[in-house]
């Protein structure tokens, strides 16, 4: 029997959120007709799989003590460009997809270089990069902000309809990405470096971690993750609207990450936290849709839960002198 120490028993935000999700899950299962059916559970996970995929990317940079507010912009602009090239300019889809990927990488590179080499704080760099990417897209890359997937495209049909072991592809991709990221963070040198640099960048650099290339690579990875999420999103709703950039989606992504318990001060948390955060949001959204809760109340409930999570976070991880001394200060 493994020894139980006090640390393991102490309340973490992750466990609180997990418990909250579990309680909601049980309550909905008992009270809502058809909640606890395989079909609904698949729909539940599927509806948050894109949020979850973005959350995984965001989780990675946040662990490395960064933040990427340009993810949603990268997602909508790169994928809208792909769709526009394929449907209006009649570029073969394969080429269009490559161009989209290259665009995403470029965006990530610029953010990464500015943050790593010009030492501009990540929150401002990516906020501005999001605007730049969105502006470039709207000005030059496509004319209309709603792009449909090309007619009879086998690729998008596959992304939206294919199933593996009865699970739709978006869920499978979410799971695979979670697994890959988990392995990356846990088993590779790259992953350990990210934790080290997130926990204490100066110490990590002194210990020989190639800090700057490491930071650049994180933003390239998140950009590619965002691109993948966008492709899945376009496939599942047969089109993509760049208006998503103007929505609160980037905050929802952050919500998933913070809710799950990845501290914004870096170096803490992992894939499991993102999964827990995503799960809670998924259960909540699905239950509220079934209950037919009006839009305004849904937003209210979501924000109250975020507030509760933040309050719990500040009790569990109190702000103190040590966290305030970090380069970016307390967020």
């Amino acid at each position: 029997m493994p020894s139980l120490n006090f640390r393991k028993l102490s309340i973490t935000q992750e466990s609180v959120v997990f418990a909250l999700a579990a309680v909601l899950f049980v309550v909905f299962s008992l009270t809502l007709h058809n909640f606890l059916t395989p079909g609904n559970l698949i729909a539940l996970v599927r509806s948050v799989s894109i949020l979850g995929i973005l959350g995984l990317g965001m989780g990675l940079v946040v662990i490395g003590r960064g933040i990427d507010l340009a993810m949603v912009a990268t997602m909508v602009v790169a994928v809208s460009w792909v769709l526009s090239l394929a449907t209006h300019q009649h570029v073969p889809l394969g080429w269009a997809l490559l161009i989209g990927a290259a665009f995403s990488v470029l965006g990530g590179l610029v953010s990464g270089v500015l943050i790593a080499y010009a030492v501009v704080p990540a929150i401002f760099t990516t906020l501005a990069m999001g605007l730049v990417i969105y502006g470039v897209g709207r000005a030059w890359l496509f004319e209309v902000d709603v792009q449909n997937t090309p007619n009879d495209s086998a690729f998008f049909q596959f992304l939206s309809d294919a199933k593996l072991l009865g699970l739709p592809l978006p869920i499978v991709l979410f799971a695979l990405l979670a697994l890959a990221l988990w392995a990356l963070l846990r088993w590779t040198r790259f992953g350990r470096y990210i934790y080290a640099s997130g926990d204490n960048p100066a110490a990590a650099r002194n210990a020989g971690v190639p800090l700057r290339p490491l930071i650049v690579s994180q933003y390239v990875i998140t950009a590619l993750v965002a691109y993948a999420a966008g492709l899945v999103m376009a496939a599942t709703s047969a089109g993509l609207s760049t208006r998503v950039y103007n929505s609160t989606m980037i905050y929802d992504v952050l919500l998933v990450v913070v809710l799950g318990g990845i501290g914004l001060s870096g170096g803490r948390g992992g894939v499991r936290n993102v999964l827990v955060g995503t799960l809670l949001i998924g259960v909540l959204l699905d239950g509220m849709t079934i209950l037919n809760v009006p839009y305004v109340e849904q937003n209210l409930i979501k924000s109250v839960i975020l507030l509760v999570a933040i309050v719990i976070d500040s009790f569990v991880n109190p702000r103190d002198e040590q966290t305030a001394q970090q380069e970016q200060g307390d967020i």
Binding site: H33, N34, T37, G39, N40, A43, L44, R46, S47, I50, R138, E143, V144, D145, V146, N148, N151, S160, D161, P168, M233, T236, S237, A238, G239, L240, S241, T242, R243, V244, N246, S247, L285, D286, T289, I290, N292, P294, Y295, V296
Partner: protein
Amino acid sequence: MKLRMVLAIALGLMFAGGALAEDKGLDNHAKRDPYYEKLKGKKVLFVPLAMGFDLTEGWAAIMRRQAKDLGYTFEIRDPNWSTDAGTRAITDAIAQKSDLLIVHNPDLQSYAKLEQRAVQAGIKVLQVNLETVNPTDTYIGADWVKVGLIEAQALVDHCGKESGKSGKVAILEGQPTAASNLYELYAYNHVFADHPEIQVVADQAATYDPAKARAITETVLQQHPDLCGIVGNWDNQDVGAGAAVQAAGKSGQVFIVTSGGGSKTGCDNISKGLLSEIVSYDVPLQGDALNQAIVELLLSPAKAGTVQTTYFTPLTLQTKDTISPRQCWTLDDLK
């Protein structure tokens, strides 16, 4: 003497020539001069919800064409879905003493007071397709109650008593506070009240986002696998609902009726089987109506706000059987 003769003959010829030319037609100076003179140099400002989607790009293309032709300035202040930026744009227009303000309202309230201020400052205000609670000089756009009545009736026809179907329908709202949404909701409830067999099993806002429409529809379909119909606020949003229905393999079963500007994108979504019926408010036609109203408002001696008119643009129904290339416009057609 000789010089005088030459002059006299020249003069005579000139008159004769002039008379001959005049005899061939009329110059219509009386109407043409004030028309073109008065329009020249006027300032028209358009504040849309945002540029970059079929409706606003379509209207702007048509309005821009006429402005260029008639020599008044036509400028767009794109608030890009931000009511805040839109408020600034309208405040700016008041300060700059534009002659005509064309506003596409995000909801019933936000710009209502501001538009009254513009009118008080002597600027005529034309509201397009989405109105506020306060009427201004002109409203040109869809009659949303009528759109809603047509949509609800289509659902009753497909899911009502004689259809032998479940009668379960879902409502996908757009932006909850927008004119289109509130007027349509009234119409749905009004029609469904007379048809107790129609059961509204979900009423959710997708806020113009196809991804949200998809997620809502997917959940509703899980709860009610026998769902018969969906009525939505906008084709660009409800394509997501169509994708969810298609993914669930229920394309034949669930009838999706919505409304839109009648662009080729919407038609494509019908032919792909994502949407069943679009009540189209016909953007090219609205554009022409806007152009006519612009000229009338700029030329009319009436003071801003004194004459208030409404033109509900005609509606057409688009289904798989009725769509033809002529009905489905692309942006290039309008430029």
